[in-house]
């Protein structure tokens, strides 16, 4: 029988081409015109799990997009790892900024360019192939369960209900998730913190119809101007978020934690050059790593009002809209923040307009303890394949469902990401390095091995 490394080497071309098939399905969860693609994608994931050796594989219907479940119980006395991932992807627009079509994967300089290449099809599928490898080489050291959802990019709307209704089926010892990044392949890292999310949509309504800006301009509040003023007021002159109570529940890092965090390899000039910006921006008194990893933030994700086409149209628009989301840090609560945002926005709006604030979806912040077995097993696995210990880091991103897993299933999540910050997640030209894909498939079996050993010892 082959070793896992030999098996991976012998099957690497197939491992890659199977991923490309998955990437060809435009499984955009936010757009209802892709509902059939979602089903198609869920079914492909299910059939790949069956082929890899999973039992009881099921495409579970929800009120939204289906969840794929599968498992392999090798011994009821062995520890169980529940792998969570998602097969849905972000919308691909703006399409014109892609160098190749988002759903026709293109390989260039060792990288796979496609929507979902990294987030999360590429990272999720590493687990399917690692599972196949362990099955085929007789090395599976834990029971394994898969829960692959199709609504991560729209707030995991129906996953909560599924988790609550399937507590016994989902019984496990840890949840393993590959949906985050490393500093680099030279400096492997493990994410120990996730930010929470509160995602709001605001609408400012002025006159009951679009008006001629010459006839009415200057005498009627322009909702676009008012919205700009409201948004402008959300950050003060030091770029602190100026919503009363916003920071109430934030627990500052200790001086030691800040020092550790800022010791991670980071070059501000390279960062700026990569992004094409002259200077960084952010909350006064904090470094870039602190701003993205440890501080709550507020960003305008979209804004629109009036005439946005070619040429000139002298309109005073009837309404103006924006999507505004906030990243939260441990001890902040998504519902609380959504509520105080909404109250504040309504309060600061002048009486000459009407304001409507709705919450899209939220998620809670999360921290992984670095002295926990999952972290130690993950660290040892990385050391086995990278030749060096990973650095613990805090990601700026959010996987809202992680807090729910802890609450409902009593399970810690282990973030085992192999992406890079430069992977253009949620942006045009998303990519995933083929090297990282294989490295993930190679590293995951070590996690199972070490996790099983440490659980037995404990």
């Amino acid at each position: 029988m082959n070793t896992p490394s030999e098996y991976i080497a012998n099957n690497k071309d197939r491992f890659l081409s199977e991923l490309l098939d998955l990437l060809r399905i435009p499984s955009v969860s936010a757009r209802s015109e892709h509902n059939n693609d979602m089903i198609h994608c869920a079914e492909m994931v299910a059939s790949r799990l069956r082929a890899a050796g999973a039992d009881l594989v099921e495409v579970c219907a929800t009120a939204g997009h289906p969840i794929v479940y599968g498992e392999k119980i090798i011994n009821p006395n062995f520890p169980t790892v529940l792998v969570y991932g998602h097969y849905d992807v972000q919308p691909a627009d703006p399409l014109e900024l892609w160098n190749s079509p988002p759903f026709e994967p293109m390989i260039k300089e060792g990288k796979i360019f496609a929507r979902g290449a990294c987030d999360d099809k590429g990272q999720m599928y590493m687990h399917v192939k690692a599972f196949e490898t362990m099955m085929q080489t007789g090395t599976l050291a834990c029971n394994i369960k898969f829960m692959i959802e199709g609504e991560e990019e729209v707030g995991s709307i129906n996953l909560g209900k599924f988790v609550v209704e399937n507590k016994s089926r989902l019984k496990a010892d840890v949840i393993l998730i590959s949906d985050t990044s490393m500093i680099s392949m030279e400096t492997p890292s493990l994410d120990v913190g996730l930010r929470g999310l509160a995602y709001m949509e605001v609408e400012v309504v002025g006159p009951n119809r679009d008006l001629h800006s010459g006839v009415y301009g200057g005498a009627v509040a322009n909702p676009a101007t008012i919205l700009a003023k409201l948004i402008a007021s959300l950050h003060d002159e030091n770029n602190h978020i100026a919503i009363p109570g916003f920071y109430n529940d934030v627990i500052g890092l200790t001086q030691e934690e800040r020092s550790d965090l800022n010791a991670a390899p980071f070059n501000q000039n390279e960062y700026n050059d990569d992004l094409g910006i002259a200077t960084e921006w952010g909350e006064k008194g904090f470094s870039t790593l602190e701003r993205t990893g440890t501080r709550p933030t507020l960003e305008v994700n979209g804004i629109w009002s009036g005439y946005t086409g070619e040429g000139a149209k002298t309109v005073l628009p009837s309404k103006a809209n924006a999507k505004i989301s906030m990243r939260l840090v441990p001890n902040q609560n998504s519902d609380t923040i959504s509520r105080i945002f909404s109250e504040h926005f309504n309060k600061i709006a002048p009486p000459t307009v009407k304001v409507k604030v709705t919450a899209h979806h939220g998620g809670e912040p999360y921290l992984t303890p670095t002295d926990s077995i999952p972290y130690l097993a993950g660290s040892k696995a990385i050391e086995a394949t990278f030749g060096k210990k990973p650095v613990p880091t805090r990601s700026g991103g959010s996987i809202p469902i992680v807090a729910l897993f802890e609450r409902e299933l009593g399970l810690k999540s282990m973030l085992f990401g192999f992406g890079l910050d430069s992977d253009n997640l949620h942006s045009p030209n998303e990519k995933y390095d083929i090297f990282n894909y294989y490295k993930g498939i190679e590293t995951i079996p070590y996690f199972f091995k070490f996790f099983a050993e440490m659980q037995k010892e404990s």
Copy 2:
């Protein structure tokens, strides 16, 4: 031979159906996909002028959309009226807010609903039918020339060149334009002031690509947030425009002029109710009529950035754009204002973004003297058909070309508008009352009659 009134009564159904034909052509000058519609529309105007009795009718090519010319010289010693109008219309979007398709005219409760019904096809075509009426009843008292352009809604880009190159062909004693509004049919009014226009487009560029708002949020300037801050700073807390030097050339009205203006019939509550707003808005210290008629204003006509589709997308956008236009009052200059806007916008932008400001098109403000022959003839014509003298008012709108006519042709323009502020110009459900259409056709011949008489006497 019929009197003009009899002729109009006998032909009113045809006069209406001919206008509807014109409204069916989607002559949107701002959109290149309508270039063929523009030609089609120009040719229809030309053939209608010929049918009405005009000579030397020509669809004159320009670098953009063509200009339709036609004339009837009955006696070289008679005064000449040059009728100016435009056959192009504003874009119709947002389409979903129209109750009936914008280019399928719908008659409801005595009103024609269609894009261009009032601005300016309906008002321009009154002149063609008034001309026909005068020809068929032997009452044409002046020579008449028509210059109907196709680029008014995009800044009359090529009309200036045409005017300069056709000075002798365009020789006349006055320019007559129906492209403005009256207070109401019960309170007829004549516009004596037009505001100028400076129309700018701004782009704020942050990072070189759309970013994941979790990974980068809080550490990179968000162009949508920055644009909101820049726009917010353009009006101070009293809604004065906060661009240094903006008011330098504004000449305030005398106390008497202000009193006269504010004596015009106006009900703020009805105004607010019509627009569905709780309270008015505007520059502190001025009434609504002053704000729209006599004060310069700044409006956001459009703004867009990031994700504007269904659902949530956690993107930190690479750029943000806005269209911003300013209405100018007499003695302000469009080029000067465009320049100081641009300088100011560049100056206030923080170094962490790049800003690009471009000027779309401008136009100069204008005033018609109320003791001039054209005004007096117009006033007497209104009195003849409405039974009361018109009130002189100042429109908030702009017809940028009027200042050019004065400069290049040495001609005053007489604004002879029969629209209403409630006609939804540049908005969904634009309309024109059939009553006003016929009233215009009936009134215009009186203008010709009185203008000829007064010119001979002078």
